[in-house]
């Protein structure tokens, strides 16, 4: 009965699409920003991502006055069941057409299933697992910003080349941590290094002393932190307390956001090497956008995840406007893959057939306290990785959408 009604509705909408002006489901394009609003990942995305999405909507409707865009948001609390329940309710009852952000890879994988089932669009920015464009790819996913493969290859290769050839991992015990550890181990081994062990800790752990002790006992040259947000901050802080670096080992923060570095302070974090997809101080257009963002966000500068939400929503609206419809998610994503991406943050890029968005990556180093000229002037670029090398080759992902 439900299926027949939705079939009838789609037929009615399809007929309406032949009319002179565009017909969007419910009259507006509704985008839902779903992320962690209250716990350890809240600063990485959180309300900032909602602001980024709103800025994208405002910028686009300023030049396309026939489009009405509404942004809604919710807190998935880092729980896959909560995330997929919210997604379902949004699609079934609230007329949401696309979901954006979704950090916490386990939630992203669950939501991707719901998006595919309902044939909507998934604009992924915060989630990390490379499976979203690999084994778990769908025709409705578009994966912006970063993923575990990019982080592993950017940071891992640089560190192994510097001499860090034995690794011990501190891994967050869920989808993201496991994938990041797996991708980085692959890089280490491919460059002639060895992985001496890993300690898997529960998500949102505050005390890392016992894991750091295991890392010290392993005598690995590099302690790789396959975790994020509050977990990474505590790991780094306690690593300095336990004299990990003084003892001759080095720390590899595999996933760091500007908010983590700001929270740690340059005294503790200087010298850390990590890979990012975007930083506010890269070029003038980025600086200008970041200042606009900070003015509306309590002076806090945007993270790469939030920048990704802006770019993803902008490109989505371009595709929807070109098609003059938001009803068929797969069709909109196909249009997003046809159109080249171009925004003031990531510049020109493309969306690949597996959903992966290609843009350059940057190897960053955290500045020393004396090198920083303002509160958010926290890192410098060590190396730019061009877009065609930053992400996993199409053939290696195992995505069923890639033919041949």
């Amino acid at each position: 009965m439900q299926f027949a009604r939705s079939l009838l509705l789609s037929a009615a909408v399809a007929l309406c699409a032949t009319a002179a002006h565009a017909q969007y489901s419910g009259g507006t394009v509704k985008i839902g920003v779903l992320n962690d609003m209250s716990s350890l990942y809240a600063d990485i995305g959180g309300p900032g991502s909602v602001l980024a999405a709103q800025m994208a909507a405002d910028d686009f409707t300023a030049t396309h006055k026939d489009l009405k865009v509404e942004i809604v948001s919710a807190d998935h609390q880092n729980k896959p069941d909560v995330g997929s329940a919210i997604a379902r309710k949004w699609f079934d009852q609230d007329g949401v057409d696309a979901i954006a952000d979704v950090p916490t890879s386990s939630v992203a994988l669950a939501v991707a299933d719901v998006v595919k089932e309902k044939n909507k669009v998934f604009l992924i920015s915060g989630a990390a697992t490379s499976d979203l464009t690999g084994k778990a790819c769908t025709p409705n996913n578009v994966h912006w910003t970063y993923d575990t493969w990019m982080l592993a290859h950017g940071t891992g290769t640089a560190i192994v080349k510097q001499g860090g050839d034995t690794w011990f991992f501190l891994t967050s015990d869920y989808a993201f941590g496991h994938q990041l550890e797996a991708d980085t181990s692959e890089v280490v081994k491919a460059n002639g290094g060895k992985v001496l062990g890993a300690a898997r800790h529960p998500l949102n752990t505050s005390d890392f002393s016992s894991f750091l002790l295991q890392a010290q006992a392993s005598k690995a040259k590099v302690v790789g932190l396959a975790n994020a947000g509050g977990d990474t901050i505590n790991s780094i802080k306690q690593a300095s307390e336990f004299g990990i670096v003084q003892g001759g080992q080095s720390l590899a923060g595999l996933l760091l956001f500007i908010t983590d570095v700001h929270s740690l302070g340059l005294q503790t974090a200087h010298g850390l090497l990590f890979t990012t997809a975007w930083y506010w101080d890269l070029n003038d257009p980025s600086r200008e956008w970041a200042k606009k963002f900070a003015a509306k966000h309590d002076g806090k500068y945007p993270t790469m995840g939030q920048a990704g939400v802006y770019a993803a929503v902008l490109h989505y609206l371009k595709a929807v406007s070109a098609l003059k419809s938001d009803a068929d998610g797969k069709a909109v994503v196909d249009e997003m893959k046809k159109l080249p991406t171009d925004d003031q943050l990531f510049g020109k890029g493309t969306v690949r057939v597996d959903g992966r968005v290609l843009h350059p990556a940057y190897l960053m180093e955290v500045k020393k306290p004396e090198e920083s000229k303002s509160e958010w002037d926290l890192m410098k670029v060590r190396q730019t990785i061009p877009a065609d090398q930053a992400f996993r080759p199409l053939s290696e992902g195992g995505c069923p959408l890639v033919k041949g």
Binding site: S38, D43, T205, L213, K237, E241, T259, L264
Partner: protein, 295 residues
């Protein structure tokens, strides 16, 4: 010597010591909870939020007044203790005649409000707090590297715990407190100001939580959710130790810290759940807790 299940003995001793250090945090926090529950019969869910306020108070003192960690150790418990007293006078006082559960709901609500306010202002990543230079660095004990600060935490926690236990169980003031909660009417008839005793006790429990917060600030990131992560474990400790028993919660805190440390060595993925498994077992065998008295 022997290698237990593939772990060399040195690594094991190191983990046991770390477990003891973490146990001292649990002991200090559960002491405050046990004092408040044992003497006042209030299930204080706001304990984690007050611990967090202690850490933030230390940060405020450093950031805005330039006062160091040593000042914070004294001023933060007093400051947050005053806040606790205000909360008790305004809200908790109304609930003493009612069921325990109303107190639980109220303090849980207070915790959510306090954490939400702080998160709104400061974000969830937290704020940096440098370790005092006198306590930084560490010494190599042979089987592990022991940071000086962690050694300091154990010493201070044990001292404060023993001092508190002594005051409550062995001094006249403590006996008044214990009598006032067992039979408030009778004690009031003797001329002791029972409501004031109760307020002071709550303020003292809160001050203990804030003290633990200051101890935590240099090693755990000062963030609005630092309390919510810890409070559930601390409740489990108090329940296992026996909800009324002061010494019970101290000993259980240390013991569970060690057990959690061992779990982190052999099966770290379960380190979050080990304490709750033990709580379930203890409750099945001895519902009043290991050292508890039936209320």
């Amino acid at each position: 010597m022997f290698a237990l299940l593939g772990i060399p003995p040195q690594a094991l001793f190191g983990q046991l010591l770390i477990g003891l250090i973490n146990g001292s945090f649990y002991a200090l926090l559960s002491l405050g909870l046990a004092v408040i529950f044992g003497l006042l019969n209030i299930i204080n869910f706001a304990h984690g939020a007050l611990y967090m306020m202690g850490a933030f108070f230390a940060w405020f003192l450093l950031q805005y007044l330039g006062l160091s960690y040593w000042w914070a150790l004294i001023l933060a418990p007093i400051g947050v203790g005053v806040v606790g007293v205000i909360l008790e006078r305004l809200f908790l006082k109304q609930l003493y005649k009612l069921d325990h559960l109303y107190g639980l709901l109220l303090t849980f609500g207070m915790a959510l409000v306090i954490e939400g306010l702080f998160r709104n202002k400061y974000g969830s990543s937290g704020l940096p707090y440098q370790m005092p230079s006198a306590l930084s660095g560490g010494r190599n004990l042979g089987f592990m590297f022991l940071p000086n600060y962690r050694a300091w935490v154990v010493l201070v926690s044990v001292s404060v715990c023993l001092l508190t236990w002594y005051v409550i169980e062995r001094t006249k003031l403590g006996s008044y407190l214990r009598a006032a909660t067992e039979n408030p009417g009778l004690v009031q008839a003797f001329g002791v100001n029972v409501p004031r005793m109760i307020t002071i006790t709550y303020g003292f429990g809160v001050a203990l939580a804030a003290f633990a917060g200051v101890l935590a600030a240099p090693i755990y990131q000062v963030s609005p959710q630092m309390g919510s992560n810890l409070i559930i474990v601390v409740f489990a400790v108090v329940v296992i130790g026996g909800m009324g028993s002061i010494m019970g919660s101290i000993l259980t805190g240390f013991a569970l810290g060690v057990i959690e440390g061992l779990t982190k060595v052999f099966y770290p993925e379960a380190s979050n759940t080990a304490i709750f498994v033990i709580m379930a077992i203890v409750l099945l065998i001895k519902p009043t807790g290991l050292f508890g008295r039936a209320h």
